[in-house]
Symmetry: C2
C-alpha cells in the first residue's frame, strides 16, 4: 500500500507529519513524499525543510493520496500538478487532504458539489471553488476524506487507519503514539475559542488574503 504525501513550497509541516506518523505504521504501508521536483522543500515558517524523495512522474499510482495545507497551496495552480492529482485520483483507494489541501482537490475539480471541509478560515473559499463546505473535523464523501485545519490530520488518519486495517490496528497505533490529547486550553475551534479571538484572527486573515 503506497501512500503519497504531496509536498510544495510553504506547506504546513504538521498537516503532513501528523497523518504520516499514523499511516506509516499501518501494516505493509510505504509512505513516499513527492513534489514537482524531488529535493528539499521549505515549510511555511521558513524554519524547517523536509525532503521530497520522488517526483510526481515517479509515483503514478499511489493507493492513498494525502495533500497537506499551508499558505503555499494558493500557488498550486499549475496544470501539470492538477493533472497529476486528477490522474492519481482515478486509481487511488483513498484521496485525502488536511486543512487547505482541500482547496487543491477543489481546484482539480474533484469536489464539485461534494461535501468537504478545510481550515475554518478557508471554508468560504472552498464554497467559491464549487464544493459544499461542512464544519466538521473529518468529512468522508465516497473515497475522498477531507480534514479540518492542521492538527485534524491526526484524527483523520486514525479514522482512515480504522477503515483500512480495522479498529484494533488503529487503536494500537493510537496507543503507540500515545494520542490521548489533553490540551491545556479549550480554544481549538471557532465555536469554542473566545469570540474576540476568533474575530481578530479572521480580520488578520482577510488582511493577509488581500495582501
Amino acid at each position: 500500500m503506497q501512500i503519497a504525501v504531496l509536498l510544495y513550497d510553504r506547506f504546513t509541516a504538521l498537516d503532513a507529519i501528523g497523518p504520516y506518523e499514523v499511516l506509516s505504521r499501518l501494516p505493509d504501508a510505504e509512505v513516499v513524499f513527492v513534489a514537482a521536483e524531488p529535493g528539499p522543500v521549505s515549510t511555511d515558517t521558513r524554519r524547517l525543510t523536509i525532503v521530497a524523495e520522488r517526483s510526481l512522474d515517479e509515483v503514478p499510482h499511489p493507493d492513498i493520496l494525502l495533500i497537506p495545507g499551508g499558505p503555499g497551496e494558493d500557488v498550486l495552480r499549475e496544470e501539470p500538478l492538477l493533472d497529476w492529482v486528477r490522474a492519481v485520483h482515478e486509481t487511488t483507494t483513498w484521496t485525502t487532504s488536511v486543512c487547505t489541501g482541500s482547496l487543491v482537490l477543489a481546484r482539480a475539480g474533484l469536489l464539485d458539489a461534494k461535501r468537504a471541509t478545510s481550515h475554518w478560515l478557508a471554508l468560504e473559499r472552498l464554497r467559491e471553488l464549487g464544493a459544499e463546505p461542512v464544519e466538521e473535523r473529518i468529512v468522508e464523501e465516497g473515497k475522498i476524506v477531507t480534514a479540518a485545519g492542521v492538527s485534524a490530520g491526526i484524527d483523520m488518519a486514525l479514522h482512515l487507519a480504522g477503515r483500512i486495517a480495522g479498529e484494533e490496528v488503529a487503536q494500537s497505533i493510537q496507543l503507540y503514539i500515545e494520542y490521548d490529547p489533553d490540551p491545556p486550553f479549550d480554544a481549538g475551534s471557532p465555536a469554542k475559542a473566545p469570540r474576540e479571538l476568533v474575530e481578530r484572527t479572521r480580520a488578520r486573515s482577510r488582511f493577509f488574503a488581500a495582501g
Copy 2:
C-alpha cells in the same frame, strides 16, 4: 527567543514537529533544527528526512531546548552530545523533551531524583536512569518540562506557550492549528486502551529491547 530542536538518526518526526508547529508561532520565536552534523537526518520509519540547519557548536545558548524521542535515542550516549545538552541547559529558560527524549536528559544527569515523564513503555528505563517517573502527560519540574509519548508534545508546547506568552497567545495558536482533538477511538493511553492491546504492545516492546 531561540528554540533549538535536537535531531538525530531515527528520531520520531511528530515528537519534533508537533511542538515546532506550536512554538514557531510564538512572537519573536526563531526555531532552529540542530544535530551533531548539519544536513539531512532520517527518521525512525526511514521514509522521511528532515534537514538539520546547524551543528551543536553553532547553537550554544538557545532559550529553549527541545529533545524529541524515538528509537534512535538509545545511541545518544556520546559525551560531546551529552556535554552540549548539559552546557545549554545552564542558560536555557526551558529545557524540554517529548517521549523518550527524557531518557537523553536523564543520561545527561539533568533528571536525578526529579519528577519526569516519557513514553509509557519507557517509564521504567527512566527510573533506572535516576529520575522519578510520573504517569502524567506533561510534567513541569523547575525549568524542565517533559511530555509523554509522541503526540503529547503538542499539549506540552501549548502549555509552554501559555507560560511564555500568556494564555491569549497560546489560545490563538491553538485556534490557528485548529487543535480541537476528536480521536475516533479512546485507546491513547495504557489506562484507556483494551488490556490485551496494552499487554501485546508491552510484550513486543520487550522483544525489541532484547533484540
